[in-house]
């Protein structure tokens, strides 16, 4: 049972600011992902939650209680490391039992608890094996078991699946979701893989260069990215960015992509970008962002918003990713598998008006 509050936390290593002014509230029992590229400060944040690192400034509270000064062992957190950090000189049983033995539980209690955890993870038959001889996949399960054994209030997982093969990773994702539901504990999960974050987490905190970029549900960060970084980082096919000139057209905005024969795109008055622009039609420069899956191919007779020449087709089975070039600019679209243009084809496309994002180049922030 724990609610985590991180308030204006900064962590400095010498001259390097690893985490800057981080504010984050994690509700009890939620599965939260810290997402970001390597070096963004997510692991540092994690280590401050576990107590392995002390914040330079700010406060961390568990259930309203300040824990900045608490030893890691007293915070009642379970930690799963990227490389599992299994003690190879011990058996799987001893690895899992360590936390309880430190708490000086009786032999019978330890054995019962280890059995319980092993049953949940389906590793009962591995317990007597030496950890050194386990497969990577099993080591990972043992590591999770070790973190679970003391019934921690908070689970911290630092990229626990990045060393696993793809199939087992998918399996473990589902397993972890199940475990989290069964245990009902707060889980914080660090990853640089946006698919992992999107598929497992209820809330995603996206970080970059030590700063929180956006904190919201997977749906929010996907559909309403706060800034260009988030827009680019989230999504399996990277968002297209095109320079755009904004003109005022009565109640609406006209977005003109400065490519030869592109027609202006009119955004209606209710669009977030229009509201954000308010009365002024100037400012800028601006960038238009649109996800490849929100661009549609138009028929041969229609002009569309843009025309481009096909330079590459990536058939992915369920869909095809088509690379197009318009003037100087390249962009990508996602089309159904039935649509398979040939390289060199001239294709007209239309942008889904409701899915257009406009970013202010000066701040990187989305207009909305």
């Amino acid at each position: 049972m724990a609610r985590i509050e991180i308030e204006r936390v900064t962590k400095r290593f010498g001259k390097l600011d690893a985490v800057i002014d981080l504010d984050l509230e994690i509700e009890h029992g939620t599965f939260t992902a810290l997402l970001g590229p390597s070096g963004c400060g997510k692991t540092t944040t994690m280590n401050m939650l576990s107590g392995l690192l002390a914040p330079t400034a700010g406060e961390i509270r568990f259930d309203g209680r300040r824990v900045n000064e608490d030893e890691p062992g007293r915070r009642n957190v379970g930690f799963v490391f990227q490389n599992y950090a299994i003690f190879t000189h011990m058996s799987a049983f001893d690895n899992i039992a360590l936390g309880l033995r430190i708490k000086k539980l009786s032999k019978a209690e330890v054995a019962a608890e280890v059995q319980r955890v092993a049953r949940m993870l389906e590793i009962e038959d591995l317990l007597e094996r030496r950890a050194a001889g386990l497969s990577v996949n099993d080591m990972q399960k043992v590591a999770i078991g070790r973190s679970m054994i003391t019934n921690p209030d908070i689970f911290l997982l630092d990229e626990p699946f990045s060393n696993l093969d793809a199939a087992f990773r998918a399996y473990m994702r589902a397993e972890l979701k199940r475990l989290q539901r069964e245990l009902g504990q707060t889980m914080v999960y660090v990853t640089h893989d946006q698919i992992e974050a999107m598929s497992m987490a209820e809330r995603i905190a996206i970080m970059n260069e030590g700063r929180l970029q956006q904190y919201g549900s997977p749906d929010e960060v996907y559909n309403r990215p706060a800034n260009r970084f988030v827009a680019q980082f989230v999504g399996s096919t990277v968002m297209n960015f095109l320079p755009v000139e904004i003109e005022r057209w009565g109640d609406s905005l006209g977005l003109r992509i400065p490519i030869d024969d592109a027609a202006p795109i009119v955004l209606a008055g209710e669009s977030g970008a229009v509201r954000a622009m308010g009365g002024n039609g100037g400012g800028g420069p601006f960038t238009l962002g649109i996800r490849p899956e929100h661009i549609r191919v138009v028929g041969a007779e229609a002009a569309g918003d843009l025309r481009g020449t096909v330079t590459l087709v990536e058939p992915l089975g369920a869909r095809n990713v088509v690379h197009l070039r318009a003037g100087e600019r390249g962009f990508r679209i996602v089309v159904p598998p039935t649509t398979r243009p040939r390289i060199g084809d001239d294709v007209g496309v239309e942008l889904d008006r409701s899915r257009i994002h406009v970013f202010d180049d000066a701040t990187g922030l989305a207009l909305r």
Partner: protein, 288 residues
């Protein structure tokens, strides 16, 4: 002859020659240990193998009065005390160096204690032979009342081998991912507990190898023990150098016998920790 065969032949000759160069002194010591005094250095004749093998040399080492044809030597000697001294100072020095050195190495490896300078500051202790500063140390040791004492030798041996321990152990600690210790700490271990329960078992092999290496250095030291001790506290190598007699001069056979005995502890130790030496270091905590 093909090129390949020629290369093999050359290799065989080179290896064979090297082996002879390195093993001949061992052979000579072993055979000498069993030669009676008359065969030690006969004029104009070389005995490649003992003609009248005897264990008299060993007996003489432990106080037996020489008898029979070997009655050339008068004063009885006893090497027991020197061997005991050697064992005590070598083991003591090794343990002390391991204790301090391992702790230092862990601090450097995990906490970057002393920054970039400290490891090299420690290493520079080895940039000149210890004997170069032995005279100042002699004064220091005399001043500290450690001249000619076991504790004095233990301390100097630990100091001299300390850099080895630090550098060897540091590389072993570097191999261990930081997370191993952190995992133990999150589980509730203290810093020391994490070191003892999680880290130390993983460097067992390294520790054993280092211990053997340091022990052999201490065990075979002659110069330091000669300068800093030698009256009350005589170590085996120093004792060995002093085995002479009026009748025969250098007692080669007796010395060889003691030399042979001195080979035993390192060999025995090597066999005991062979598992660690052969296995080397297999850190399996991380699948990279």
């Amino acid at each position: 002859m093909s090129r390949r065969k020629l290369l093999t032949a050359i290799r065989t000759v080179v290896v064979g020659f090297t082996l002879v160069v390195f093993l001949f002194p061992v052979y000579w010591t072993v055979t000498m240990a069993f030669k009676p005094a008359s065969e030690w250095q006969p004029s104009g004749k070389t005995y490649w193998v003992p003609q009248n093998p005897t264990v008299g040399n060993f007996k003489r080492l432990f106080g037996a009065n020489p008898t029979g044809s070997d009655v050339l030597i008068s004063t009885p000697i006893d090497a027991t005390g020197s061997i005991v001294n050697s064992l005590i100072v070598s083991i003591g020095g090794t343990l002390l160096a391991l204790l301090v050195g391992t702790a230092t190495a862990y601090g450097i490896s995990r906490y970057r204690a002393g920054g970039k300078i400290l490891p090299f500051a420690i290493l520079q202790l080895r940039m000149f032979p210890p004997i170069a500063v032995i005279i100042p140390i002699l004064f220091l040791w005399t001043y500290l009342h450690m001249y000619d004492s076991r504790k004095g030798l233990i301390l100097i041996y630990a100091a001299v081998t300390f850099p080895f321990v630090v550098w060897l152990m540091r590389s072993f600690f570097d191999e261990i991912p930081r997370e191993i210790g952190e995992a133990a700490i999150v589980d509730g271990c203290s810093n020391l507990g994490a070191f003892r329960k999680a880290i130390l078992p993983l460097v067992k092999s390294g520790l054993a190898t280092t211990a053997l290496f340091v022990f052999i250095l201490n065990w075979s030291d002659f110069l330091i023990a000669l300068v800093l001790a030698g009256n009350r506290v005589v170590t085996a190598p120093v004792f060995l150098s002093q085995i002479t007699s009026a009748a025969t001069g250098e007692e080669y056979g007796t010395r060889a016998a003691l030399g042979l005995i001195l080979i035993v502890p390192p060999v025995l130790l090597s066999i005991l920790i062979q598992k660690h030496l052969v296995r080397g270091l297999t850190f399996g905590a991380i699948k990279r």
